[in-house]
Amino acid sequence: MSTPLAQSSPAPEDEDAPRPPDNNHWHNVFRSITTGNALVAVLSVVLAVIVGSLMIMFTDEGVRESSKYFFSRPGDFLTEARDAITGAYTALFRGSIYNSRADDFTTAIRPLTETLKFAGPLIAAGLGVGLAFRAGLFNIGGRGQMLLAGAAGGWIAINVDLPAPLHLPLAVIAAMLAGALWSGLAGLLKARTGAHEVIVTIMLNYVGFYLVFYALSQQNILQAPGSANVKSLPMQESATLPKIFGERYNVHLGFVLALVAVAVVWWLLNRSALGYRFRAVGENPHAARTAGIDVGRTYVVVMLIAGSLVGLAGANQALGTVTSGVTVDLDAGIGFDAITVALLGRSNPIGILFAGLLFGAFKAGGFSMQASEGIPVDIVLVIQSLIVLFIAAPPLVRALFRLPTKEAK
């Protein structure tokens, strides 16, 4: 006979109702990290930027020098500090939005196009991670999914001969399909065996990497004929993503495709029955199951779609940004940056759009900061990591130390 032994005190309302099992506890922590309102996102960015600024300040030569005689002439220190920080952010702005030092408008606006170029794949992959978050799944497989997507799209781009209106879509679709299958594999394993998707997707990253490495080292698969490099032939013209603002700028159709993806994912989550079920499973898998929703099947479908979005980012890279040939680093860390983008965007398509743009700006402007101010481009990485920390740490710390989220009842 079951006995009602000590449990934590229930809310005043449902005194008779039994408490949900303890694994709901960690489920709630996951939800409070990955979803929620924009306030957390904005505050995390502000805090991260403040800490980043302090770091910029204390690594600046002038600041260090003037700090030695701080107490006799504090004015120098403050001036140096102000200069260091403003210098950094104006350099960031010049590199990511508008280059005020350029001669004409068309050159001055170039940084903005670079931002858009970098933002495209971040948005697409971010959508892939964010969509999975909404269904309660953590997709860390961005790297493997992008590599296989790039390899698949690249293969079509190199080896198939079709006119452009057919060739390019085929290559993009092949890339999205490859990403979908690689991610869907993790979903299938979770549905059938309960294998945690974090473990599976991380392992599949390695498997995917080495598969692509192998393909790029074999002459008859992807490697450029006659070459010893682990690299493929360049993409054919008919399968490259065309530049959308003319040859001057590097931004290409991939950005537009990312915007389309934002709209599609928004519709999926907010208007479609399938997205409704994703959200139900993500918010409360028990109630979803009791309501007749097949949770396992939902996991598979979500991972398939999420993988196709990450695959779109892979196509973006292989067919647009770096068309000189598929290599094993075509993912350029986007797979992992996408996690930060999704967290910052609170797993919301519009939020992810803005988060992707922000990170695109960081990427574009980081080089300028290094070039003109001597600030290591890694500071951008530090700021990105701090953002993740400030978003994820409070709920995690509260959970680990069992602190109440509201007043203890």
Partner: protein, 504 residues
């Protein structure tokens, strides 16, 4: 020792859980605190026990104002609490549990278990508890575990004993024994606060009754008041306690369960070879103390259990082994026991929750797209029809009170095309007004010719709703008896004794 609460006020943000509550309990008096779920009784007791600090007001014992910074202070001052969910360590013995937090130590800090055992025996004999100090707690029946809780409180020389909803987990016989214990304690001079929402018990033992509604005292009632009077005081308006029910118009056998067995993953059998049937237009109520297989039975009917043997046929179609979706499509409606975990998605709006098991196809889905207009109209209509108290259909379900949440679940299930309704603990944690409403809906469903299975641990609810009663004990059917079977007989059956003449 006399306990007086003067003007206790406790706020949680903008919610006033206790609003200037004052009451006095004299030594040797049983004072009942009566109120619905959510009225603020538990909050008040948590203030008394030192778990919360009151924003205003004071706690007075024998004329001295007390300041409790935690339960330790309250216990030291002589206040003992018998919690609704026992605070016992299952693998410890009775003596070890009783000494927990108040250990007598001998030489060098070693535990003096003999002293604890002696204390348990002393108290046990004084009140006729018959508790063995060396018994392991998890092996004891629930009624005896509760006595261990009482002994624990008394061992700290508690002069004020607070019983928080003690009868939720007891059989009728154990409840009667508890009432007897309370009378003995009262005779020994203890002041007793008895918190409950069960009117029958209140009238049996109370010397005085204070009724709380929405955080404030609405008045004192006399123990001679009728159930109906007490209920109206609790709710604030006249309440029909027992739903009007015409005799059933029976149809054919609709649900036929044959040899049903449900085991869990470790092989433990929860439902053991039971067979029963329900006719169309009939309510079969399943009575029994929580934990005798009722939960597993309802889950098996819905396809939520994995290790199920036997046969479940609805309208001739076999349902055992089918997936949840298929069973729902066959017309089975389900009001789950735990609405917050299994019934609703707390972060979804009321409207979104109303389509939770209807997200495939008409009327709410067309071409894969959710028909928001239709959903909105449906939700608004249901909100009106079921009198769900909420700001609007976009309110998150998690922000509703228990009763309103349950109304949303019931509204959802009853607006489907049903061939069977399974309702597990349909009014647990629900306010009296909503209980009335939900019972009416269940009877209306039955009158529309649909078979209904209701599982309830509340005998009053079973008696009110049932056309026939099936009692489960340890996964087996003790008997299926007519609805007018006396409480005493049902109580015996709930404890496993099969009376003569009952159908197995």
């Amino acid at each position: 020792m006399q306990l007086a609460l003067r003007g206790i006020t406790k706020r949680f943000g903008s919610l006033v859980a206790n609003d200037r509550i004052s009451l006095t309990v004299e030594p040797g008096e049983i004072h009942c605190l009566l109120g619905e779920n959510g009225a603020g009784k538990s909050t008040l007791m948590n203030v008394l026990y030192g778990l919360y600090q009151a924003d205003e007001g004071e706690i007075v014992l024998d004329g001295d104002v007390q300041h409790f910074s935690g339960p330790g202070d309250a216990i030291a001052a002589g206040i003992g609490m018998v919690h609704q969910h026992f605070m016992l360590v299952p693998v410890f013995t009775v003596a070890e549990n009783v000494m927990l937090g108040n250990e007598a130590t001998g030489f060098g800090g070693s535990l003096d278990l003999d002293a604890a055992r002696a204390r348990v025996r002393e108290i046990s004999e004084r009140f006729g508890f018959h508790v063995d100090p060396d018994a392991i707690v998890e092996e004891l029946p629930v009624g005896v575990q509760q006595r261990v809780e009482i002994i624990k409180a008394l061992s700290r020389d508690a002069q004020v004993l607070v019983f928080d909803e003690p009868t939720a987990v007891l059989t009728p016989q154990e409840t009667d024994e508890l009432m007897e214990i309370m009378r003995q304690l009262k005779a020994a001079g203890t002041a007793i606060v008895f918190i409950t929402h069960k009117l029958r018990e209140v009238r049996e033992v109370a010397d005085r009754i204070t009724v709380i509604r929405l955080g404030a005292v609405v008045g004192e009632a006399s123990p001679t008041a009728s159930n109906a009077e007490l209920a109206s005081l609790m709710v604030g308006r006249p309440v029909e306690l027992t739903v009007h029910k015409e005799p059933p118009t029976l149809g054919e056998d609709a649900l036929v369960v044959d040899g049903l067995t449900v085991a869990d993953a470790s092989g433990l059998v929860h439902v053991n070879d039971i067979s029963f049937s329900i006719k169309a237009g009939e309510i079969l109520a399943v009575a029994g103390v929580q934990g005798n297989g009722q939960t597993e039975l309802t889950e098996a009917l819905l396809g939520l259990q994995e290790h199920v043997g036997g046969s479940i046929r609805l309208d001739g179609k076999e349902l055992r082994g089918r997936r949840v979706r298929q069973i729902l499509d066959a017309g089975v409606g389900f009001v789950p026991e735990d609405r917050q975990v299994d019934g609703l998605v707390g972060t979804f709006s009321i409207a979104e929750n109303l389509m939770l098991d209807r997200s495939f196809g008409a009327p709410f889905v067309r071409v894969g797209s959710v028909q928001l207009g239709k959903l909105k109209a449906f939700a608004q209509q249901k909100l009106r029809e079921y009198d769900v108290r909420a700001p609007g259909i976009s309110t998150h379900a998690g922000n509703l009170s228990g009763g309103n949440q349950q109304k949303v679940v019931v509204a959802r299930e009853l607006s489907r095309d049903l061939r069977l309704l399974v309702a597990a603990q349909p009014t647990r944690g629900v306010d009296v007004g909503s209980i009335e409403f939900i019972h009416k809906q269940i009877v209306a469903t039955r009158d529309a010719g649909i078979p209904v299975l209701v599982v309830s641990t509340e005998l009053d609810e079973v008696a009110a709703l049932a056309d026939r009663i099936m009692v489960l004990y340890r996964g087996r059917i003790v008997g299926i008896v007519p609805a007018d079977t006396p409480r005493e007989v049902l109580g015996l059956m709930m404890a496993g004794e099969r009376p003569a003449g009952a159908v197995a």
